[in-house]
C-alpha cells in the first residue's frame, strides 16, 4: 500500500533551483533512508514533504490525500517530524514536551486521560519512563532527541519524517535512536549521513545528488563502491558483517 507519493516536485529558493523533478513512492511500513552529499537537497525535499516549504511545482500525497490541502491539525495526524535537536528558548518538563505532540488531537481546553496515556506510552517506547518531571533543557543530546521522538510518536501519525536525527550524537546514541525508530510500527522516511547506519536500518535507500533522485532500492543494490566513489569521492570496500549479517562499508581515503 502506498503511504507517500511525491509527484514531479520542484522547489527553488531566491531563483535558484534546489530540487527538481522529484518522483517517489514510499510503501506503508517501509523504513526508507535518504542519502546524498551535503547540499544535494535532502533537507529541502523533506521540508517540502512536511509542509515547512511549499513546492513551486508538483504535489505530495499521504494516504492519497494532497497534504497541502489539509488543515494543519489533520496534516499533523498523518505525519510527524523529528529534526535535529533544536534548542528551545523556554524550558519545560519532559512530559509537557511530549504532550505537545497531542496538540492536534486535543480539544481546546483540557487534556484527556487518553492524551496522558499516549504521552506516557510514547515515553516508555523511547525508554524514558521516569523522566516525566525532568527539565528538557537539562537532558543530554541523546535524551533530548528521544524526547522529540516520543513527541512525534504521541502524534500517532503512522508516518515519521526524520531529518538527520542522529547528528551530533555519539555512536552509541546514533544506533540507539535508530533502533528506537525502527521498532515502532510506522512508516519512516529518514535522511541519514552515516552510510553504515543507512545500510543497517533501511529497507530501501533513496540517493540524491544535485537536487534529483539518482537511485532507489535496497541498500545492497544501491550502495555500491562505484556509487559511493561518484557521490562522495571516497574509495570503499564493502563486506558483510558476520555478526549482524548486514553489509558494512569500509572507507579507504585517497589522501
Amino acid at each position: 500500500m502506498i503511504k507517500l507519493q511525491v509527484e514531479n516536485l520542484g522547489f527553488s529558493i531566491a531563483g535558484q533551483q534546489i530540487i527538481s523533478g522529484i518522483n517517489l513512492i514510499i510503501n506503508k511500513g517501509d523504513f526508507v533512508g535518504l542519502v546524498g552529499p551535503n547540499g544535494c537537497g535532502k533537507s529541502t525535499l523533506l521540508k517540502n514533504i512536511y509542509r515547512a516549504y511549499k513546492p513551486d511545482l508538483g504535489a505530495v500525497f499521504i494516504d492519497g490525500t494532497d497534504i497541502f490541502k489539509l488543515p494543519s491539525k489533520e496534516a499533523a495526524k498523518k505525519l510527524s517530524v523529528v529534526v535535529q535537536e533544536n534548542n528551545v528558548e523556554f524550558d519545560m518538563d519532559v512530559l509537557e514536551m511530549v504532550m505537545l505532540g497531542r496538540f492536534a488531537h486535543q480539544k481546546l481546553l483540557s487534556s484527556s486521560t487518553e492524551d496522558h496515556r499516549v504521552a506516557r506510552e510514547a515515553l516508555l517506547a523511547v525508554g524514558l519512563e521516569g523522566y516525566e518531571a525532568r527539565s528538557f533543557a537539562s537532558l543530554s543530546g541523546g535524551e533530548k532527541q528521544r524526547v522529540l521522538i516520543a513527541r512525534a510518536l504521541a502524534q500517532q501519525a503512522n508516518f515519521i519524517v526524520l531529518d538527520e536525527p542522529t547528528n551530533h550524537l555519539d555512536v552509541g546514541y546514533q544506533y540507539q535512536i535508530m533502533s528506537i525508530v525502527k521498532k515502532q510500527n510506522t512508516t519512516v522516511f529518514c535522511s541519514i549521513h552515516d552510510l553504515n547506519i543507512a545500510a543497517y536500518y533501511c529497507d530501501k535507500i533513496i540517493v540524491m545528488n544535485q537536487g534529483t533522485i539518482i537511485g532507489y532500492g535496497p541498500p545492497k543494490e544501491i550502495l555500491t563502491t562505484q556509487l559511493i566513489d561518484d557521490l562522495f569521492g571516497i574509495s570503499t570496500d564493502i563486506i558483510i558483517n558476520e555478526t549482524t549479517g548486514k553489509m558494512q562499508i569500509l572507507f579507504n581515503p585517497y589522501l
Partner: protein, 267 residues
C-alpha cells in the same frame, strides 16, 4: 500578560510591549486621540481606540524591521524596538508640546512617557477590566497554541498549529490589551519583561499556569512599585514607570548577558 504573548510570538525572551515600542505607539495614539480629538466616532472609547491603533502600528513596524529572512534575531528585535519606541515617544512629545502650554506640558509628557496609576479612576478601570477579561478568556482558549508556538514556527506547524491564524489572534490580543492599559496608565515599562520570567521560574513554561500566575505576580509587583513611588518622593508622587524601570532595567541587562553566555556555549 501581553509580555507573555509577545515572547511566544517572537520566541524571544527579551520581548515585551515596552521593549518592542508597542507601549510607546499606544501612548502616541492615545495622545493623538486626546489632543486632536481623533477617533471621536468611538465615543468614550476614543482614547483606548487610539492607543490600540498606535500599538498595532508600532508592533507591525518593529516586527517588520526586525525580521530578516523570516527570522527575528534578538539584536534586530531590540534595535528595532528602540528605534520604534524613540520614534513614537518623540511623536508623543511633539504633539504635547504643540498643544499645551506652561508646566502643564511637562507633566503631561511625563505622564505618558513614564506612566502613572494616579490618573486611573474607576470609570477608566471598568472598561480596562472589560478588555482585560475578554482578552483573558480568549487567551484561555489559546494556551495550548502558545505552548506549541514556543517551539518555533516550523515545529509548531508540524504539530498541527495553524500559524497564520494563531499569530494574527495573538497580535490582535496583545495590541488591544496594551492599547487599553496604556490609555489608562501611560507607559509603565519593563513589567511585561520581568514578570513572565519571574513567573516562569516559579511555575514553569506551560501557559495554562503561566498566564494566571503572571497576572497575579504582575499585579502584585505593580502595587509594590506604586506604593514605593508614592512613598519615596512623598508628598509628591514619583512616576511608577521610574520605579519599575529601576527594577526592570538591570533585569533586562542581566537577561542579555545570560543569553550571550548561552550562545557562546552553543557555538
Amino acid at each position: 500578560m501581553s509580555g507573555i504573548l509577545m515572547q511566544a510570538l517572537t520566541k524571544n525572551s527579551l520581548a515585551d510591549p515596552y521593549v518592542l515600542g508597542i507601549s510607546s505607539g499606544a501612548s502616541a495614539g492615545a495622545v493623538c486621540a486626546i489632543l486632536f480629538g481623533w477617533f471621536s466616532f468611538a465615543g468614550n472609547y476614543n482614547v483606548m481606540f487610539g492607543a490600540t491603533i498606535g500599538a498595532v502600528i508600532a508592533l507591525v513596524l518593529s516586527m517588520k524591521v526586525a525580521t530578516i529572512n523570516n527570522r527575528i534575531t534578538s539584536t534586530q528585535l531590540i534595535l528595532a524596538g528602540i528605534a520604534v519606541s524613540a520614534l513614537f515617544s518623540s511623536l508623543t512629545n511633539v504633539f504635547i508640546y504643540h498643544s499645551k502650554t506652561g508646566s502643564d506640558k511637562v507633566n503631561t509628557a511625563l505622564y505618558w512617557m513614564l506612566g502613572s496609576l494616579g490618573g486611573a479612576n474607576w470609570a477608566k478601570m471598568s472598561y480596562g477590566l472589560t478588555a482585560f477579561i475578554v482578552c483573558s478568556i480568549v487567551i484561555g482558549f489559546f494556551h495550548k497554541s502558545l505552548d506549541v508556538l514556543m517551539l518555533g514556527d516550523e515545529t509548531a506547524a508540524t504539530l498541527g498549529l495553524d500559524l497564520r491564524r494563531t499569530k494574527t489572534c495573538i497580535i490582535i490580543l496583545a495590541t488591544v490589551l496594551t492599547g487599553t492599559i496604556v490609555s489608562i496608565s501611560g507607559v509603565i515599562g519593563f513589567v511585561g519583561l520581568v514578570i513572565p520570567h519571574i513567573t516562569r521560574f516559579i511555575v514553569g513554561s506551560s501557559h495554562r499556569r503561566l498566564i494566571p500566575a503572571s497576572v497575579l505576580v504582575g499585579g502584585l509587583f505593580l502595587i509594590v512599585c506604586d506604593v514605593i513611588s508614592r512613598v519615596i518622593a512623598s508628598p509628591q508622587e514619583l512616576s511608577i514607570g521610574v520605579v519599575t524601570a529601576f527594577f526592570g532595567a538591570p533585569f533586562f541587562l542581566f537577561l542579555i548577558r545570560k543569553r550571550k553566555n548561552a550562545f557562546r556555549g552553543r557555538e
